[in-house]
Symmetry: C2
Subunit: 248 residues, 2 copies
Amino acid sequence: MSERRETPLRSEEIEADHCSVDVRLEKLGMVPFFKPLSEEDLKEVNRRFRARHFDRGDVIYREGEAAALLRIVVAGKVKLIRPTLEGQDVLIDILSPGEYFGSLPSMGDEVYQDTAIAQTKSCVLSVGIDAFRKILNQYPQIAVKVLEFTSDRLAKAQEKIKQLRTFSVEERIAYLLHKLSKKFGEQSDEGLLIQMPLSRRELADMVGTTPETASRIISKFKDKGWLETGRQWIAITDQEALLSMGDE
Amino acid sequence: MSERRETPLRSEEIEADHCSVDVRLEKLGMVPFFKPLSEEDLKEVNRRFRARHFDRGDVIYREGEAAALLRIVVAGKVKLIRPTLEGQDVLIDILSPGEYFGSLPSMGDEVYQDTAIAQTKSCVLSVGIDAFRKILNQYPQIAVKVLEFTSDRLAKAQEKIKQLRTFSVEERIAYLLHKLSKKFGEQSDEGLLIQMPLSRRELADMVGTTPETASRIISKFKDKGWLETGRQWIAITDQEALLSMGDE
DNA sequence: CGGTATTTTGATTTAGCTCAACAGACGTGG
DNA sequence: CCACGTCTGTTGAGCTAAATCAAAATACCG
């Protein structure tokens, strides 16, 4: 039953040159924000960005720091958390390539409200907030795109608030796993593997519970044959069952 | 102790002509979105809006309807809710004049995610979503402004998620009352009155609890001399005490 | 003054948290 | 390649905040 097993997670192989100037332009073009731009404009915009590499666990910025940069994930995964006093952070989101984070032109505090940490080796682009503001004014289509993304995130946040009220922890976890497998899932021997290191604590922080409760529920799902798990990984084997438990 | 008392709430006196074409332009100029516009442009933009009046309790739109319009509160108060299956709605926000609601240019469903209800007599402006998109492309400054508002709301929503996890119901209610009194408070004989009909159920829906629990906590606060209440109204008498209980 | 919706209060139940101990997985250094 | 140490995950037992169910009291309107 419990023969020795290696983690099925693929360790991200992001070489240094993934972040080099050479490949940057190509990547930037893939970012949904910049889809509407011409080749010409894209090059122009590209010049204003800087690229930087982060290793797993690196803090990209911390809550409370002056919010000076807007960033875009180019490769890897980045998690956003809101730290609380007793370390039981709230995990806001996990971002994949093409998604933005950091500060947007804002009305209120010019300080980050959250903390960003590289969940895997990652490459991240950044622009100063003023430079970005200029870009927005120069290319209205981009502003509209950014607005779309932001209002989409707002809708998701509101949905989450509703879920916290309405659903049990069990339902929330089922729903979350379903979502994660849609966003990060890859077929593997174990089933639909969520391709990312993911601890019980992180899982708990995402649905608003404790690692213990998360563990109990995961065990229950495992008993029912809905998924396979190991240290830091989860693979869904019965998507349907999860869905029927956690659907809206 | 319990001498006969009239509700201290001022019933909103919004006459029909508050929504008339005549006053509309003036109102529109006060909307933060449109601050950056010249007199000229404002007139131009104004032409694309329609105004409409709603009475207390009127449904402005329902979750699930085709999301065709963006709206702006010009007078009165509008509440946004996410209905759940068993009527214990989640109250997302209460909007005052100058705030937008309805749909933004979005990527996903072209369907309202929430339900909007007039909390008091209200006047609301609306534009078709395509017309609004045109405005955004035409006046990039507006797009940036709208983005600011939206990302601000996003930050608030995330803060709320954190609160739901971290704070007790008692702390959340204290914090909410503090916020509401800042946004809607008016000095009155009873103290800093939250100028808006507000039931225990609505209060509960805002912090994610039940009317019973909300009532118990309000009673407790009343006993401590922090506030005065009646049917559908609350007035804060000791702001400091509330703050020290519900601060972040 | 009476009627009704809202609010309050009481009693009971329960989901999920906390504290605690243990077991399994992974990495490292010998 | 194996033994050891550490970090992650599992499981158990008891506790508590808040939900639920039920009823009485009250505030406000006409």
